[in-house]
Symmetry: C2
Subunit: 518 residues, 2 copies
């Protein structure tokens, strides 16, 4: 934007008209979309229901089941066609928390901000006892503890990083940052991914940690306490065991606020006695099936109505909060985009379908299997007949931040089209088209079989510092104006994709993976 | 500082020398203080013990008793003289938490980040039931609930302010801000106080809230749930009843993370059923006496050794964390200043005394009564013989931030003295002498009887956003370098006050309060 300020206005107008000639934009329809989406929005009502009323939506949990039923019903109530809970295959065991209490009882009483790691068992009543420090960074470190851990409550040593920061938790992209994104060449996934080095480190640590879990189990320890990244009572959560139906047994495991973990760590390192009491009850569910929720606005053009435009977001969340920004936000935005389009009575040429994915957090399972069931197999690249029919898939899963642009996911042929479609939303902050790939969520399942799948650039706000996978990913972290803006832009993108003469241009098809590769 | 940059260097040097001529500064001793305080600091070890090992130190609690005993012993171990736990009069009932568990059990299970309000009773076992919303901003609102509250769990409606902020939690004073402080005329307490309007509002709300507590008690409700200011799992704590031995009975009351409170509030406002289970055990202690801890480095000058310089900080804290920045920080800094002076073997002319106050959080009780017992009565202005003997009292109670200067507390005669004493610490960030008053802590007890009592200007860091009175006022919020700097500067101020030919100049004496006034 900064650089454009020095371009004379008539030239800007010309550029703008030039785009408009290349790629039609229905400004009248955009006004209708904006009017419905900004003046009669239901996005916060939807988000309230998904978060506060339904609660955590861990894959396979009672919460996700409730969310499937409620979203299907809500989409049907909005008069969408074919609203269905569609099984995608076997996920594994669902899991819910029924009780979670933990406190330090010596050297003084302090309730602990903690929750069980996902898919870990309960304690079978109140467990009380001294805390024992286990420091095992490598497998070789296990030996020193052999025979000493029977019935012990274990604190697994890590190095909490909880230094005071003088930076804000929440931020928006600056014009400079957006200009930088617009200028760069295609690259590896950038927005949600770790660097390859950090990923390798992380995997190595995780492998040792899994072996340690087994070792502690074999030694007959009672309970494991581990550190949750984060600070000030916010902690990041994860799983402590596999959801697989045949997963090996593990110990009950609590993760907790770093301040509470670190206090006990310091006490133990200073040879102070620490005692704990805790009671955890968790429940494993019997339905192993995974589900997505789908619904449609049917196409009306005789020739094109069998073609598809899809929008989606994952409905599942982690378990220690209500998954507000990850990803009730995306779900509510996508549902709202559908509601807007239905309410203003569009007659799309192609069929528009929404899909709310299950089990994204465990590996994009809902979307991957949906793609496999409907479009083609990313391993063998054996394609199904509908593969040719999908014009595009749009995804929202980067939190509550408003849309600042879109990732081309390496498909340069789309630049002028998306630029034309963004143009009417410049005054709402959406300006940037970047050739970059972005990763970490469900559009990748489509990209993997050569289908156009896209994520939008969203302001980060406090996604990485406070909300994403934390115990504080709650309703109040949702930014109402941002979600309204996102719903309106998504609705417009979807509408234009559905009305376009041609499907969106595709990249060259990926090759089949070598047999046996994963 | 900015404005001084345009003053020619030779002039600066002249000013500097001029100060030095007016007020002697012992640079050799300052080097010794810096060497001991920066290279062999024990401030973090002391802070660790006060926070992690001893824990919360609520007035009258087992924690404060432990802190009294440990600090007295530590001061004695450092070879300070006359280390004593000194009773100051009757405080009231001590109070400790023995169990605190709370969870939302419907519409789904969620452990709540919560703790009992100070001095509230327990639940006498597990309490389970539906949550009921009570909205009573004025006393007239109570009537509608009459007869409906028997055995109910009550959520008291307030308006949580938990909007996402794009500002940092922690900050330091800028040069501009310090220049502004240096330039202003004396004013009402500025650093910790509320404006008179906000204070009046706060008092009015508090009065209604106290009457509501009585009403809920009379109606036989089971438990009260209220909102803790703060966000992201950090909440500010307070008392839910008086510590007085004859305080009227109240209900058990939990305050909790605003995100958990606000979720239940939204659910109730949307007519969704919410259920709670909770178990609270608290214990009231029988020793009603309040205590301070004192110790000395005796003076060595025959004429001046009966005169005093004092340093102090309050040792008590709130109950839901370990009171790291409020005020283990100040306690550790003051203890460290004494340790440094003792270790480097000073021979002070006047006696240097440290006092660690009890019950500051309830109204500066420890220091007020100490002053009353030793120096004079702030009501009647009847003075005791030692009133003439105290040169100055220095206090630290604004968190972990390093010292940026000192408040003159309206005493202009001290400006050139304190400027000379700060001069050697300019490179450590301590530059500013302000005529302003600052309030909210124990130097006021001295100021109230016309004794020179001072607080330092400290960088705020995250004192007001994250730590002060919160459940997250923990060890990791302490900034090691800042505490070392503060201890060194305090040690130097105390040393120079003890060695000065004259006691520090005093303000005109305050008048006695009208009989019967408070």
């Amino acid at each position: 934007m900064k650089r454009q300020l020095i371009i004379p206005f008539f030239l800007l107008l010309f550029v703008s008209l030039a785009y408009a000639q290349q790629e039609p934009v229905d400004l009248q329809m955009i006004e209708k979309i904006k009017d419905e989406g900004l003046n009669r929005s239901q996005v916060m009502k939807t988000a309230f229901y998904l978060t506060d009323v339904i609660g955590p939506r861990l894959s396979g949990s009672a919460g996700l089941k409730h969310a499937n039923e409620w979203t299907r019903q809500q989409l049907a109530d909005w008069q969408l066609a074919n609203a269905t809970i569609e099984p995608w295959g076997e996920f594994g065991r669902g899991w819910d928390i029924e009780k979670s209490y933990a406190a330090m009882t010596a050297p003084y009483y302090q309730p602990l901000i903690a929750s069980p790691k996902a898919w870990t068992p309960g304690t079978n009543g109140l467990v009380k006892g001294k805390l024992m420090l286990v420091n095992a960074e490598k497998e070789e470190d296990f030996a020193q503890y052999k025979g000493q851990l029977k019935d012990k409550i274990i604190l697994v040593q890590t190095t909490p990083d909880i230094k005071t920061t003088f930076e804000p938790d929440a931020r928006r992209f600056t014009d400079d940052r957006l200009a930088e994104m617009a200028g760069t060449a295609a690259s590896a996934p950038s927005s949600s991914g770790l660097s390859p080095e950090r990923m390798a480190e992380y995997r190595a640590r995780r492998a040792v940690r899994e072996k340690l879990s087994q070792f502690l189990m074999e030694e007959g320890a009672a309970l494991v306490i581990s550190n949750g990244r984060g600070m000030h009572g916010t902690y990041f959560t994860s799983n402590g065991a596999s959801y697989a139906a045949d997963a090996p047994a593990v110990l009950p495991e609590l993760e907790m606020a770093a301040e509470h973990y670190a206090r006990m760590l310091r006490l133990l390192q200073a040879q102070q006695e620490v005692e704990i009491e805790t009671e955890i009850k968790t429940r494993f569910n019997t339905d192993l099936t995974g589900y997505n929720v789908v619904a449609e606005i049917p196409g009306t053009d005789k020739k094109l109505k069998s073609e598809l435009v899809m929008v989606g977001a994952h409905l599942d969340s982690w378990h220690s909060a209500t998954g507000a920004t990850d990803n009730a936000a995306g779900t509510a935005v996508m549902m709202e985009a559908m509601r807007i389009l239905k309410t203003i009575g569009i007659k799309p040429r192609r069929t528009i379908r929404i899909a709310l994915w299950g089990s994204e957090e465990q590996g994009l399972f809902g979307s991957r299997n949906y793609v496999k069931n409907h479009f083609g197999d990313a391993q063998t690249m054996k394609l199904l007949p509908d593969h040719v029919k999908l014009s595009a898939y749009y995804n929202v899963d980067n939190g509550t931040g408003k849309i600042r642009g879109v990732y081309l996911q390496g498909n340069e042929a789309l630049r002028s089209i998306f630029q034309a479609w963004l143009e009417p939303f410049k005054d709402m902050g959406a300006t940037t088209v970047t050739i970059r790939n972005t990763g970490g969520t469900d559009h990748q399942s489509f990209d993997a079989v050569g289908l156009p799948g896209f994520q939008f650039i969203q302001d980060p706000v406090d996604y990485n510092t406070r909300t994403h996978h934390t115990n504080m990913d709650t309703y109040e972290r949702l930014q109402e104006e941002d979600l309204k803006q996102a719903a309106v832009i998504v609705a417009s993108f979807v509408y234009h994709t559905a009305m376009r003469d041609q499907k969106l241009p595709r990249k060259t098809m990926p090759e089949a993976k070598a047999a046996g590769a994963n």
